[in-house]
């Protein structure tokens, strides 16, 4: 039985040492990699991302056109905040006729002049508490 104990002990110690070396290589290797970039990464989450990999601040390249070629940009922007209109669209306005003499009142001209471009929705998003469902969703 002591032979069995000795063998198992040997295996356990060997595995323990192997695991420790691996863990040290993992963390130490990563530390060396970060140092080799020229600066120690302390808050990589604040760094720009290129192709899923954080890039050092001193050499932040342009994001588009480098990673997946010139095809990198999507065909159109994604609606992350669809409640915010991209740009207020203007209502179609009839062509403005040349002004007539002021003595002759022309109601049609007046109606054109008073027609101002109106955005479809408010350009400012309403603040939505994270815990609440906005009313338009409920509707």
């Amino acid at each position: 039985m002591s032979g069995l104990n000795g063998t198992v002990l040997l295996i356990a110690v060997g595995l323990g040492a192997f695991w420790l070396v691996l863990a040290a290589l993992l963390v130490g290797g990563r530390l060396l990699y970060d140092v080799s970039l020229g600066s120690l990464r302390t808050a990589p989450e604040a760094w720009p991302v290129r192709g899923g990999e954080a890039v050092p601040k001193r050499a932040a390249p342009a994001l588009f056109g480098t990673e997946v070629g010139t095809l990198a940009q999507p065909s159109r922007p994604a609606p992350v905040a669809p409640r915010v209109p991209a740009a207020p669209r203007r209502k179609p306005v009839a062509p403005v006729l040349p002004a007539r003499p002021t003595r002759i009142p022309t109601p049609s001209v007046a109606s054109i002049v008073t027609t101002k471009p109106q955005p479809h929705r408010s350009p400012e998003p309403e603040p939505v508490p994270a815990s609440e469902t906005p009313t338009h969703v409920a509707a």
Partner: protein
């Protein structure tokens, strides 16, 4: 009495031999996985010029996912990929998911004509297109399960590649760009990739510069489990061309292959493993060249159960589908006709997945029994337990090293923490898994087919509103750097 003690001892020896065998097989996979990871990295670096990328249809099968669907869809739309569409299949949800989609993406009904060759699915009620972004198509159909929903999405898809994405999965913006790279090889018909696991995929998405590992022990252990499963097993399987299990949360298939093989099957609890087996079976049988590959890139984050009970339900389901699939395709085991799938993949699956719950449970139970029966000293039992724990630790830490080699985006403190947790898995996480596997095996014997969807960790329906488009926020990041 002596006979019983002897039987107990030899039973223990058998169980430990099994564990040594399985651990050795996993150890043998490590260099293969490492080589595959290096190969993918080399291939990427060697690529030059502007790649020609085919169109892709992302299919999101969603059932009662009002809490997560908007975040999932936004992540899909952020893809840095030239041509894709996103098809959300509402599989007869009973919650407010359709209302959320309607109001968020301003859906309007549109015409859709079924293709000449289509997969059979449940009734489609309506097809909508977004007024905000015409790439979004929403299909409202009667409930038929995930496989049925994915088949429906494949019918609606107009592009030659179909990406199946779970509704609780948030893709990274390079997911498609990375995932489509191996399809440069015309033999590749299917692909899966590593997904990180988190309690809240949205948080992982917003802080994407570094991999954030949840502090929760249960999520951390699941994270390690995923890392080991992908960066040890699946990469090695991919290297030897017997990648037996694509991940349902992110799987890419050639649409024509899906159609030809009849799509995903609703006869199984889960669709992903079975379809992968079917693809292998078909191509090996007809003798056509093909590959189903796994890539090491992290293409997103998926939500993991935060409670042991939910985890048990999920893993029991996985065990059940493994058994269902293995049993269905048992004739491939050991057959030369099926190449590495029959000669290596199936036997490995048998040892590591099918028989695991029996032997693992027996080994854990035998050790204290052998001590009580005075057939093993208590310090020998402790040493054996320690050796098993450390062998797990070695495997997991090596897989972690392979994962970190890929993108170097783990934080160092997370790496140290995960490496320290690795050997402890045996005492805290494995018992949960073992119980789940036993439960799953019992469910399979009883013929259960339930899904047991776990309760989502995220409870709010609307993610924090952002006033920037993704492009704006990324450009801002560069400028501020």
């Amino acid at each position: 009495m002596t006979g019983l003690r002897e039987a107990l001892f030899w039973m223990l020896v058998l169980c430990l031999s099994y564990l040594v065998l399985v651990t050795s097989l996993y150890m043998l996979q490590l260099p293969l996985a490492f080589a595959e990871q290096r190969r993918r990295k080399r291939e990427r670096e060697a690529r030059s010029g502007v790649p020609v990328r085919p169109g892709v249809s992302i299919v999101v099968a969603a059932y009662n996912e009002e809490a997560t669907i908007v975040a999932t869809l936004n992540a899909c739309l952020e893809q840095l990929y030239p041509r894709f569409e996103v098809i959300v299949v509402n599989d007869g949800s009973t919650d407010r998911m359709m209302d959320v989609l309607r109001s968020r993406f301003e859906l309007e009904p549109c015409m859709w004509h079924p293709p000449a060759v289509a997969l059979e699915t449940r009734l489609i009620r309506n097809v909508y297109r977004s007024k905000i972004d015409p790439r979004i198509i929403v299909v409202d159909k009667a409930n038929g399960g995930k496989a049925d929903a994915l088949n429906c999405g494949a019918n609606v898809a107009r592009e030659p590649y179909v990406v199946g994405v779970d509704a609780d999965t948030v893709l990274s913006d390079v997911a498609l760009a990375r995932g489509m790279e191996p399809f440069d090889d015309p033999d590749v018909v299917g692909l899966t990739s590593y997904l990180s696991i988190t309690g809240s995929p949205r948080r992982a998405r917003f802080l994407r510069g570094a991999k954030l590992v949840d502090r929760s022990l249960l999520i951390s252990f699941q994270h390690l489990d995923y890392v080991r499963s992908f960066h040890n097993s699946r990469l090695a399987w991919s290297r030897l061309n017997y990648m037996l299990c694509t991940n349902g949360a992110f799987q890419i298939w050639r649409r024509e292959v899906m159609i030809e093989l009849g799509g995903f099957s609703s006869d199984f609890t889960c669709e992903d493993i079975e379809f992968t087996f079917r693809v292998h079976e078909h191509f090996r049988r007809v003798g056509l060249p093909y590959r189903v590959v796994c890539i090491p890139d992290e293409v997103g984050a998926t939500e993991g159960p935060q409670r042991a009970r939910s985890l048990i339900a999920q893993r029991a389901r996985w065990q059940r589908v493994i058994l269902e699939t293995f049993w269905h395709y048992r004739y491939m085991l050991g057959r030369r006709r099926y190449g590495t799938v029959g000669l290596l993949g199936m036997p490995f699956y048998l040892f590591s997945e099918v028989l695991a719950p029996v032997f693992e449970q027996l080994a854990i139970a035998m050790l204290p029994l052998a001590v009580v029966a005075h057939r093993l000293s208590w310090h020998a039992a402790l040493l054996v337990m320690g050796a098993i724990a450390l062998s797990n630790g070695v495997l997991t830490t090596a897989a972690l090293a392979i994962a970190d080699q890929g993108d170097r985006s783990y934080r160092k403190r997370d790496l140290a923490r995960l490496a320290a947790l690795a050997p402890l898995e045996l005492f805290w996480y494995r018992p949960i898994l073992t119980w789940a596997r036993i439960k799953g095996t019992w469910g399979w014997i009883r013929g259960d087919r339930g899904w047991d969807k776990f309760e989502r960790n995220v409870t709010t329906a609307v993610p924090p509103a952002s006033t920037e488009t993704p492009q704006q926020s990324r450009v801002t990041a560069v400028i501020s750097a």
